[in-house]
Symmetry: C2
Subunit: 464 residues, 2 copies
């Protein structure tokens, strides 16, 4: 009814649909950038969550992004930087005046600073480390001394501990007497005199138990410690498997050095899955939509090259039978069907195997049963699709023996695909090679070579 409504975004801007950025909002932001209207820009962006501002920065083009950062640089804080993709982050950091950058990183917890700097180039890393206060810098440098993708990189050092013999009352008095407690904490970690963690108590239990109750009596059953050198993907697995909310991190002497909380584990789980999906598809696993053409091209080319070798190998097999094809050109028409079905069946089994290995569901214990099951599945589908394709080929080319050959070749190829799809990822895992990354080319080679060999080989024997 009224025209002067303020159409500023509210916190719920994303909630109406499915959390994708509001299209009109992005347009208004770009208009404000073009008009160099800093106060309008501020009114539009200020209500947004840092994660949404980061998404917006990633989705607009590099030119607009640079302009926006210049106009709004004073408001870009550590949280926004933390949320950005690596490539865009480096770009934004390069644009920021050094005093803004200093402010931004000083706001962050040390684990977030670690997350921020670990992927940066040496020089950019130095810029940020120099911006920190001395104590924080030491903490960050210490964290960076742990292996990449280890629990040590993931943990926060801000801890709330209590001696194992304390009572609830002592813990409450202690906590309430603290000047400063970590922003986010959910448990009190019980430690022995050597600082070895022996259990933990949720704050909910501290609040609901009587003062005289010993903390040890209300500690959680599912207590687990994480070694500081443990790979972060194993940490994420443990959180998901055992429903942990937070877990103490210990060094090689079992002494408490930090704590990992579930939100960090969830972020790792998300990245690990993302990497697995991209690796299975043969895309460089660090790829993101904000990569440049050159970066993206390089990321894809390696896999295409490996695939070219595989495809050439398949062609060599075909070449062995070129006389046969010359005699019956229908073979050339039909042969891609056998290879394609084999490739698909192999990918299906391989994907199931790669995932089951990642979730520790496929083990030495059940390997034989799973292999037998996969081969049985391959055989049944091979029979079904072999029969179907026999009928189709029979009607299409009217050569009965051709129909028999394609049916038999389909069965053989689908069994080989099942076998290759399960055995190759398991063998790679044994050899400590990431099965998500390396299985594809091997499985394709097996299905292509077996597919063409079975079909053309049988044809040359039976038909000629």
């Amino acid at each position: 009814m009224t025209d002067d409504k303020l159409d500023l975004p509210d916190e719920d801007a994303r909630e109406d649909e499915d959390y994708s950025l509001d299209r009109d909002l992005v347009h208004e932001v770009l208009d404000a950038v073009e008009a160099e209207d800093a106060s309008r820009l501020d009114a539009l962006l200020e209500p947004l969550h840092a994660a949404d501002i980061a998404d917006l920065l990633e989705q607009i083009g590099p030119g607009d992004r640079g302009e926006l950062v210049r106009l709004w640089s004073s408001e870009i804080d550590g949280e926004i930087l933390s949320e950005l993709d690596e490539g865009v982050r480096a770009e934004v950091i390069a644009e920021l005046p050094s005093d803004v950058l200093r402010e931004a990183v000083r706001d962050l917890y040390t684990d977030d600073v670690v997350d921020l700097v670990e992927d940066l180039e040496e020089a950019d890393q130095r810029t940020i480390l120099d911006a920190l206060e001395a104590t924080d810098r030491v903490a960050v440098e210490q964290a960076l001394s742990y292996p990449e993708y280890s629990a040590g990189r993931l943990m926060q050092r801000e801890l709330v501990t209590a001696p194992e013999h304390w009572t609830v009352g002592q813990a409450i008095d202690f906590l309430r007497a603290q000047d400063e407690l970590p922003e986010q904490f959910y448990h009190v970690i019980l430690v022995d005199p050597r600082m070895k963690p022996v259990g933990y108590v949720t704050l909910g239990k501290v609040l609901s138990a009587r003062r005289a109750v010993p903390l040890a009596e209300i500690s959680e059953d599912s207590f687990r410690t994480i070694r500081v050198t443990q790979p972060d993907k194993d940490v994420a697995y443990a959180f998901n498997q055992y429903h942990l909310i937070s877990a103490p991190v210990v060094d090689e002497d079992d002494r408490l050095v930090g704590v990992i909380t579930i939100d960090d584990a969830m972020a790792v789980l998300d990245e690990e899955h993302e990497e697995d999906i991209l690796r299975l598809a043969g895309v460089g696993d660090e790829s993101s939509l904000s990569d440049t053409v050159i970066e993206a091209t390089k990321g894809r080319a390696l896999w295409l090259f490996v695939n070219l070798l595989t495809a050439i190998l398949a062609s060599v097999v075909i070449d062995l039978f070129s006389d046969t094809i010359q005699t019956l050109v229908a073979l050339a028409v039909l042969m891609p069907i056998v290879a394609s079905m084999g490739g698909n069946a192999g990918t299906q089994t391989m994907t199931v195997a790669v995932r089951a290995l990642a979730t520790r569901d496929l083990t030495a214990q059940n390997a034989w049963r799973v292999i037998r099951r996969e081969v049985a599945v391959g055989a049944i589908n091979g029979l079904a699709f072999g029969l179907l394709m026999s009928i189709i080929a029979g009607f299409w080319f009217g050569v009965p023996m051709l129909a028999v050959v394609i049916g038999a070749a389909m069965l053989m190829t689908l069994i080989a695909a099942a076998l290759g799809g399960i055995v190759i990822p398991m063998a790679l895992e044994r050899l400590k090679i990431d099965p998500a990354l390396a299985s594809g080319p091997f499985v394709t080679t097996v299905t292509d070579v077996v597919g063409f060999f079975a079909f053309l080989g049988l044809a040359s024997v039976v038909l000629l």
Copy 2:
């Protein structure tokens, strides 16, 4: 030094390596099952986490599983049932005496019961519902009235709330006066008199603030409510995007009806990723290693059938050029290379697009830029691999024009693959069809048809 060591598993049985089940332990369990030694079995299993016992049950064969459940049925509790895969869960429930089952489900929170029963057959569902106390049964049935995969199914009803005007001191006194608080809670939800949630306060802040401080002053900035009908995958996205630890769930009148915690959101995120990976590979998304041969065969057959149609379409294209192939059989040898490279490049782009759509990174805003980038990547790789393949084909067959034809066809196919790989998932998303599930066959069709048509078509024009 001593031979009488007790090699019982300890809680850390899985921690030494990477959390996979200890192989010796599984063997010992199977030995105990075979010897029908219930006390030995109990000694082996009792120290394990419910999630590990569930994994063990999934990994052993159906015969051993039935035997184990019969021997150890009195110890199988709700937690173990919750952790099992659907298929195995139904099998175990069928084995359990009704009094054990009743005990097991009465132990659980209502949200876990919902999780347990929602995938069961009607009859099994009834068995469990009947085992519940009346109030819990009502709560579970109410949760089941919400759509599947909605926030209403995911939330727990046990809540800790406080009026928005309370102080820290009032909240502490209230919490400490409660007889029973939920097992796991991390926030106090502030509500207005209509039970509309207006903010939340972490327990850590409650414990560290002075008694006189109003709760509203120390409430979290990142407060977000979830609608009860919201799809659970959007809930998981929101938790990951906004680093939520817990979030109040509201009905259509904005009234508080429950709360979702991050551990549930993490489980959903994990399942969603799993589904996406399996869908991209054309495997039924409910598939698990404990599926029978028949279930697994069905799950794979649909996709293989769709692929067969695609492959036949490609063969029809080849058939159009059978005279050309007859004249120069080298075409039959080389043509799979073009199709294979196209298929791989298409899968790469498609996977990037499907993931970027799922993470809301690919939007109407940046669609054109991403399409341009992908086509540029396709063109560059097309030029590079076209050139490489030209040289190889030239040396292999010694027909210069054949070398030119395969180079040009490779370039055309890789550009088509890039275009199809990005445009098809976006179009499916627009049409509200899951791009992870449906993109594959369309993209393969494009790359096969374009690949064979370009190569054989060019050959028939240039060479004959």
